[in-house]
Structures are given as C-alpha cells and as structure tokens.
Amino acid sequence: MKIEKEGKDGAVVVRIAGRIDTTGSSEVSDAIKEIIESGEKKIVVNFSQVEYISSSGLRVFISALKQLKNTGGSLILCDLKPFVYEVFDLAGFTRIFVICDTVEEALKA
C-alpha cells in the first residue's frame, strides 16, 4: 500500500496504490482522517492504482464523506477501475459520491 498526498488547485489529491482490503483500509482511513483534521475542505481520491476494494474500504469513504459534508467540504473519487466501480455501484455508493473519470475533471467539479 502506497499513499501520496499532493495539494493542487485548492484541493488535496490523494493517490492510493494497492488493495483497499481489511488490512489496507486502516492505512487509508488514517491518511484521510489526517487531511480532514488539518482543515482541508476538498479531497480528491485518485483510484487509478487500486484494483481491489472490500466493504472495509467502503466504510472508510462513507465515513469521510459524512464527516466532510457536515463541515461543508467535499470528497470526489476518480479513475475507478471496473471492479472498484462495481463494488461502489452494488453498495449504492455511486448515487451518493461524486465520481469523475480523471483527476483534472475532479479538480474542476
């Protein structure tokens, strides 16, 4: 699991590389929590290097979305690979998350 953060156009872009499973999700959770606690309002998550996610990963993102919505922030997901998109879709999360094809599109959203 590799997580990189980069400030860009008033947002923090988080690039995750690896499997967001029971083990990986706690690392992602810590990274996102840290960004939210630092007061950032817009988080863009780049999933281009993520081939697999399970419900433990979904939990991390819905908690983050709820927290950001409460403070007027936003969480945008981009470049979801087919299996990751399928998991979000079956969970009904594609209806509540803003999902973009590219980071550039997410930064404009």
């Binding site: 419900s55 939990r59 819905i62 979305l65 709820k66 299996f83 079956l90 969970a91």
Partner: protein, 135 residues
C-alpha cells in the same frame, strides 16, 4: 471438479489476508479470469472477517476449500464459532440519502450480489458457508 486450495488454520483476523492471498494465487494458477477471481476474493474476505469479528470475537479455527470445474468455482468456508447463518442477514439501505446510509453491513450484500449461489448449513458444531461462482 479439481481442488486448487485447501487449508485448516487457527488464529485471528490476520488469517483473512493470508487466506485471500492464497485463494487469489490458486485461482490465478487455475486460469480463472481476474474479475471473477476478485469477486470470489471479496466474498471470501467479507465472510471470514465476519467469522472472526462477530462469530469468534477473536481467534478460532477455520477450514477453506476451493474447487474449480469447467463451469464454476466453489469456495467452502468452515468455522466452529457460534451458529450463525449469514444468508439471513437483511440487505442494507443502498438507495437512500447519505444521512440514512449505514456505515457498515455491506459485506453480505456484496456477496449476495456477486456470487451465483451463497448457502449456509450447520453440521454439528461447524458453520459451513458455500459460494458458487460460474466461470
């Protein structure tokens, strides 16, 4: 039907990653298409996580068998935790607004959606969950 993976293990939640990795490697060696394999890995991860977190609430014994035929992949997970039928777990709300969405409870729903068959039986002191996925 050919057995591609078989293991009996004792331990805690850390076994989930061990088993999922072994199942992934076995399915790859058996030339199972990657998307089908990911769906089976997820089902395996969700079911075993529930076994350790809610069944054992800690450590215990599990057995895993993975069988492959020309038509389907079968994964059989056994444990000796208290009797629990995951196929009876109600589906969570997947259509409401963000505020109404639960943080958890999605694992069994994902298994149900991804597998072609998801069954449970209790045999003496053992819970046996069987997944079947068509290739």
């Amino acid at each position: 039907m050919k057995e591609v993976y078989e293991a009996e293990l004792s331990g805690g939640e850390e076994l989930v990653a061990t088993v999922v990795t072994a199942v992934r490697e076995a399915l790859e060696a058996a030339f199972i298409e990657s998307h089908t394999s990911q769906q089976i890995q997820l089902s395996c991860e969700e079911a075993l996580t529930n076994t350790f977190l809610h069944g054992y609430r800690g450590s215990g014994w599990i057995a895993v068998r993975c069988l492959v035929s020309d038509e389907e992949v079968t994964l059989i997970l056994s444990d000796k935790a208290r009797a629990f039928d995951p196929t009876l777990v109600a589906d969570p709300d997947t259509k409401g607004d963000l505020e109404d969405r639960p943080i958890g409870g999605l694992g069994v729903h994902l298994i149900r959606e991804m597998m072609d068959s998801f069954t449970y039986r209790r045999q003496e002191d053992t819970n046996i969950i069987t997944f079947v996925k068509r290739r």
